[in-house]
Structures are given as C-alpha cells and as structure tokens.
Symmetry: C2
Subunit: 492 residues, 2 copies
C-alpha cells in the first residue's frame, strides 16, 4: 500500500494516513474486503508511532470505511452488508500485493467512465452537439488524398500544420503564440501529466484551487508533491490568500483554471490574472493555465488567457479540444516557451514519441474552416439552454438549504448542500435511479469537503437532464425533510 507521509505538512500524520487510505478506497485500489496492513506493520513501514496508526484506523472505522475483525485483522468495509469473512481465497496473483507502487490516487477515472443512463458526472459533450458528419467527410477527403497519413509517425512535437492551425485559432481568442512553442498532447490531461513529470518531484510545492479539477490532483499526488490549496470565490482563485501562502512557501507550480473554473464555473477577471502572474514572476514559479472550455461562454466573451500577459515564459497554457470538438481524437495543445518548452518536448518523447498523426490530421480541415466558428456559436446556444434548464429546475425544486454558483460558461454547476450531507453517500442513492454526478470530495486535494457536488449539464439532452436534476432535487428534499423531522441525519 502506497502511503506518503510529509513530515513538514500542515496536516497531522494521523490525518495523512486517514486521507491516504480514503484516497485509495475512492480510487478503487482498495476493494471491499481487502485487508489493511496491521498497525504494527504500517507503523514500522512509515516510521511513525503505533498510536498514530491506531488513531487513523479508529477514525476510519468510526467513519464507516473499515472494519476490525477480532483476531483476523482490519478490512475495507463492505457496503453490501456481507460479513467480512477474513481474507478471500488466495489466488496465484497474491504475491503481487507486495509489489509497491507509486500511485497515491486515481479518483477521477472512476467518474469518467462511459455513462449508463443519466450521466451528470463528467463534463463531456453530448455527441449530438458535435459536427461528426462534417468531420467524417473531411477525414475521408484528407485520407483519400493522402493515405500515407496512416503509415507515418508524426513529429514528436505534433504535426506542423496542426500547430499552425492552433496558432491561428488561439489568435482569434487574443492569444498570440508561435508553432514552435506549441506541443500537441493527448488531451489536456496529458499536458498536466507532462508538466508534472518534468517539473514536480517529492516535496515540491504545487498550489491548486480548492475545489479543483480532480484529474490534476491525481497527477500531482502521483509525483509526491506537497499540495497547498487556495479557496475560490466568484472571481476564481483568491489572490489575497495566494499572496499569504507565497510569503511562507515558494511554489514551484500554480495550477489554475481561470476561465469557467472547474468545478465552480467562476471566471477570473484580468486584474486577478495579472496579479497571479506577478506572484509567479516574483517567486520564479510556473503557472499552469488550464483552459478546457473558454469558448463556451453564455453572456460575454471571457477575458483573454493569462498566457497573453506572459512576457517571461512563466505560463504553460493548456488548451484541450475534447470539450468542443471530436473527443474521439483526444487532441490538446500546450503552449510554453524557452527551456521550459524544450524540456516538456523531451518528456513527451519519453512518454509516447508523439501523438498519433491520424487524429491530428483529422481535425485540421475542420478547425481551419469557417464552420468551426459557426459550430462554436451553436454549441454555446445549445449549452446555454441546458444550463438555464438546470437552473430553473434547481430554483423550483431544490431545498432552500442548497445553493449554487451561477456559471457564465462551461459545462458544470457546483452545488453546495447542507454541511451534514455527504455526497459520496448521496451518490449511492442517486445511482439507484441510474443518475450519476461528481461528488465534491474528489475535487479537494486535501481537507475534503463532502457536502458539494458537481452536475455536468453538457452530456445529456433535455429530457434525461430534466429527469436527472429533478430526481436529484427530490432526493435532496427527502433528505432534508427526514433530517428536520428526526433531528438526525439519514444515512447519507
């Protein structure tokens, strides 16, 4: 079991053990019924006192995550109320459990799986809103003319024509860059990963918003980073608090989603963007500006990217396309400069020798055509309708104890429930109705808050969206009713 202890962290070691185990349960690394190491063994492994481990295990047991069986050991609790019968019958793979790994968590994956029925958990786009037929025809034309696209490795940096096309595309968003400073990635997730593997090592300080994009947490945790968090208000990352933090710690990386922040939808004004950049300049830090969907605005165009203000190469800008076009191609780009860029390029080579040429060539004709801008216009309209639909249902049916951010763009709405609710448990209830959402805890790198949830309104069309959100509201109402009536919280 991979448990990382940071002795100089703000969090107590007991709490670190507690959260590590929880992270692994939520990442599905520890299955129901799996044994935990004995208190003695873990205390020895981590070099901490027996009492510290005992306290962590007690807290995990109190909170219902693990069970101690007298004389048998400690196990991950089964939710299906089966009695823990000790270790399962041994298999020939049992030896593998002793192979140590370097994966502290992988929570996002669990919520990103292909949907069942009413999928409000991951911010994917409804395939019906994407120009698949046009793209398919363009691909046919491109491949008939040049079938050798199938038989060539592309450049490690990415296809030059695509890099050029992306420069022109970004120019329309008031971001000037150069094909030489663009690296094509397999979506932004790979961009985050490349940066982390290149620049983040054990104990390096990474500052993230709280809440933030869970996929990024998984990556930084995997590099052994010391993650510090800054809360978010309606204008994104609280720069005043970032200042305080940076007086005390020197961050290596500041990760932010300034436009339509994930999960809250907040938009950071230019002033704040500039302030963060100044902080990065004074602390010689790198800023990762993750931009999944600044194209999807509902009122007015958001401010230009922080990267457009960057003169000294502090910002690494990530533009994923999967939220607006052809997620089946998984194309993203990264823009950076100087030796930072060069090193990221080397990391890309080590990782996979470059993205597939087919997927890169596939999207060029479309994104360089006038159709791209028309498509984005339509997409904004369609998603605004869905957002408004969800807002309507929430205003009408959500209990008054529930509040939410008003997202001015993007794909998500962030709900805050009464503090006694735990959305990890609430998810079990909604799943019975075949409805999924993203429990808020997944969005916190540390000190998880359990009473939030993220609804993505981009994947389902009006009918199931209405049904899903309405049902969630009704389930919330029942919970609140029960709580008020009984004076005690229901089991979620």
């Amino acid at each position: 079991m991979h448990i990382e202890i940071q002795r100089n962290a703000d969090m107590s070691i007991t709490n670190q053990i507690y959260h590590s185990v929880l992270d692994q349960i939520r990442s599905d690394f520890l299955e129901e019924g799996s044994p935990l190491p004995s208190v003695r063994k873990l205390s020895k492994q981590l070099g901490v006192s027996l009492v510290t481990v005992v306290k962590a295990y007690q807290k995990l047991e109190q909170d219902g995550f693990i069970t101690s069986v007298q004389g048998k050991g400690t196990f991950i609790k089964k939710t299906k109320k089966e009695v823990v019968e000790g270790k399962k019958g041994s298999s020939s793979y049992d030896w593998q459990l002793s192979v140590e790994d370097y994966l502290p968590r992988s929570q996002f994956a669990r919520f990103h799986q292909v949907p069942e029925k009413i999928h409000l958990s991951s911010s994917m786009i409804d395939p019906g809103l994407l120009p698949n037929r046009y793209l398919e025809q363009e691909i046919h034309r491109m491949l008939s003319k040049n079938p050798r696209v199938l038989s060539k490795y592309g450049e490690i940096q990415g296809d030059k024509a695509l890099r050029q096309a992306m420069v022109e595309y970004l120019q329309k968003m008031n971001l000037s860059t150069d094909p030489e400073n663009i690296l094509v990635t397999n979506g932004s997730q790979q961009g985050i990963d490349l940066i982390a593997r290149t620049f983040v090592g054990p104990g390096d300080v990474v500052v993230m918003e709280a809440p933030t994009y869970p996929g990024a947490i998984d990556v930084f945790r995997g590099r052994g980073a010391t993650i510090l968090t800054v809360p978010v208000d309606s204008e994104g990352m609280r720069v005043d608090l970032l200042h305080h933090l940076c007086d005390k710690y020197k961050p290596k990386i500041i990760y932010t989603v300034p436009t339509f922040h994930n999960p809250t939808g907040a938009v950071m004004p230019t002033k704040r963007r500039r302030e963060i950049l100044e902080i990065a300049e004074s602390t010689q830090s790198l800023v990762i500006e993750d931009d999944p969907c600044s194209e999807i605005y509902f009122d007015r165009k958001p401010p230009a990217a922080m990267k457009s203000l960057d003169k000294e190469g502090h910002v690494i800008y990530l533009k994923g396309l999967s939220k607006i076009l052809a997620p089946g191609c998984r194309i993203g780009i990264l823009a950076a400069s100087g030796s930072i860029f060069k090193r990221l390029l080397a990391a890309k080579a080590n990782t996979d020798l470059g993205s597939p040429l087919l997927t890169q060539k596939a999207i060029i004709p479309f994104i360089t055509s006038k159709r791209m801008m028309d498509h984005l216009k339509k997409l904004r309209i369609a998603l605004k309708i869905r957002r408004d639909l969800v807002l309507d249902i929430l205003s009408q049916h959500a209990p008054e104890e529930v509040s939410w951010f008003l997202p001015k763009g993007g794909l998500n709405i962030w709900l805050t429930l009464p503090s006694w609710m735990d959305t990890n448990h609430f998810l079990v209830e909604t799943k019975k109705e075949q409805i999924t959402f993203l429990p808020g805890a997944a969005c916190y790198p540390a000190d998880q808050e359990n009473h939030h949830l993220r609804l993505s309104f981009s994947y389902m069309n009006e009918q199931p969206l209405t049904q899903g959100v309405t049902t969630i509201c009704h389930l919330l109402q029942s919970a609140v009713y029960l709580k008020n009536k009984q004076g005690s919280s229901p089991h979620f």
Copy 2:
C-alpha cells in the same frame, strides 16, 4: 541541471557526473555554448567533494565535450569551432534555467525524428509496405456508418472491440489472454512509461539488456531507477549473468526484448525464457516483455511469448503495432493480470484518460480481416529482401574489422566496429552524406560502448538503402585505412 547521484552504485561518483552530463548533451538539454554550474556550486548541490567534480569536468574536457574559459567558466563545447565567448546575450527566459527538472535524459527522441534523406536510424516501416489504401477505405466505411466514434471518449482501458480483436490476434501467436487483461496504449513507448511510473521509483532496481532499446532507458532513468545491465549473446539476455546479478540485488523489474532483440536482433529460445520467468518468480519481480515485431521473422516463426508461460502474473507483455501496421494510429497494447493490471489501468487514467477512440476503431476492421495475415506475409518477404541486400553490401564492402549479428527477423542490423572508433563522431561524417544511423552509445544504460551502430533496413527502399549502406562501408574503409596508415585514429 538534473544530476542524480547513487551512492551505492557500482559506478564511481566522478563517472556518474561524467555520464549525466554526457546524457544531457546527447539529449540536447545542454546546447553548445551553454554554461555548466561552477565546480563549487555543483559540489555543493550534490554534496560531493570538489575533487570529485573537478575530475569529472577534466574527463569531459579531455574527451572534447566541454571547454573551460579562464575567468568565465565552463561551457559545452561548440562543434562548429566557434570561440566560446562566454554566456550568450541574456533573454527574458533566463530565469527558467534555475527551474529544476526530473529529466536525466531523452536521447532516443533525437534519432526518431522524421527523416531527411537516407534514414537508417530508426526502425520505422517504409510507408510503401503498409496497406494504407485498404485501411483508408475501411476507416471511411466505419465512420460513415458510425460518425459518433469521433465524438466519444473511449473506455480508459481501451475500446472493447479492439481488445477482443487483439486477443484473437495474439491467439494466432500462441498467446492466450483475455480482453479484461488488455490495456490499449499509445504505442509500446507508453506501455513502458506506464509501468515505470507505476512501479519504479528512486533506487528501485531495473535490469536491462545491454545494449537495449534507448527509449526504455530514457524512461527508467527518468524515474530514478538503479539500472543494472546484462549483456546479450546470440540467444538474447545472458541468463547465467542475470542469475549472478539477482543473487546480489533484488530487481523490481526485468526489461527484455526476447524476440528480435532491439538492437541486436537476437532471439531468445524457450528454455531461456522459462529461466528468466523462474528468476522473476523467485525474486518476486516483474518482467516487461517488449514485443515490437515478432511477426517479422525471416526463417522460422520465433518461440511463443514469455507471457504464454506465465502463470502467476509476473510478465507484463507489450505488443506495439506501429512496426507492422498504421504507425499513424500509434496503437499498442499491454497484457497483464491481477492487481498489477489494475494499477496500470489507474496510471493510464491519470496519464491521458484513455487512447483516442478514432485510432482504435480505425484498425479493427483490418486486423480482424484475413488481409492482416496476408499483409504480414508480404511484409516479411519485403523486409527479408532488404535485410539480405544490406548483408550482401556489408560482406562485400565493410572493412574486415567490422562484424555484425545476423538478424533472423526484425528491422535492424547491429554492427560492431573496431574499438577505437566512436560512432557518435562517425555519425557527423555520415550526416554530411545525409545518411543517419543510431549510434550504439544510445543503447547502453551505463558504461556506454561507443563502437557499435544500429542500421535499420526497414524504412528506405532498395535504391537509397543500397546507397546508404555502401557509403557507410566506404567511410568505414577510409577510417580504417587512415588509422592503419597513420597509426593514429582519425577524428572520429
């Protein structure tokens, strides 16, 4: 500058510094004219004595890699005979040089770039030998029927139909597995990388063949592994020496290319495969069986994969398709079992959330058709002709001081030159004739041998292949002639 010192390594610290700097020069991280840290600074950074650093710098200077300029410092030597004028004019990105990274090397990338004229340096397949037209038609048919392939994320594990198709494909190679144990990757390079990021950390012991595939070295070095090497004979990794090594060290990973070993072309017999597996069982290690091209045999079918002998989940099998079909799709798979598989799947999620659906769906119709086997048959014939051509030219024109392995399959021939030759320098000469090859040093994780080179005969067709290999032979003849005449080696 990233320099990693392993205090318990067999190599002296002076040598470790020497090789670290060399690795970075060869990875292009340190450009010509770049300053090195002062002796004082580096000795402080690494916590080693001044003398140790001085010795390393002296050796680097003697070997012609760096230059000391009185009163200015130490610089990477310029090959273009320009006088080092001290630091170049400062740019606004200079601050970036102080950002520490975790990339000790990325050498393979330099030799994997898209070719200029006569490209014998990377084992890519001539696009003319691949069924691009058929594939293109199949893709058109598939996308017309189901354009939504473009608008969907696939499963993180990989498309189920592709995993099923790969199971059937592997079955034809006498390897039985299951779609649940298959993970689709962006080529084998990503497979190696996923394993390394999941299971290899600082100081973990990785055993590799020497020479071996440079892309794998780059990855393991990047994880801070302690790499131990085992020489290769005509039957692949020397198991007797592996035994000795494993008596002393407990490897976490044994990386091998048992079939048409890269770069030598050696084939490991079944007996030896079994022995390595037994070693892995007794040391509780993982074996990475990298299989880029066992389909490309010239005489007889090679033995079944080591994975087919594996009962307890020790072997992680990597099958890249880019050497035989559609490198523009960059599809590979990884087969593993038990918790090892599960953890690799989580790593894949963190890395990129899954490979693009388009490239996966693109190849399914072809690989499941009868055409695939016909294609492989033709490919074997075409490549055998090229191999024989190269062997003929070598027998006729290579100096008698040059020897080579006879490859019974694969894409490469491994040449051993007289020990006074350095193929890194020889490459400068052949590049003047627009001919590239892979210098042997890139294939050694440590204790680099400089007098080997790898010729890939798979990319160029007969005419340029003949020209390239003939020219290399003539250049080698001149070098040997000069050496014999002058009694001193020419500058390469």
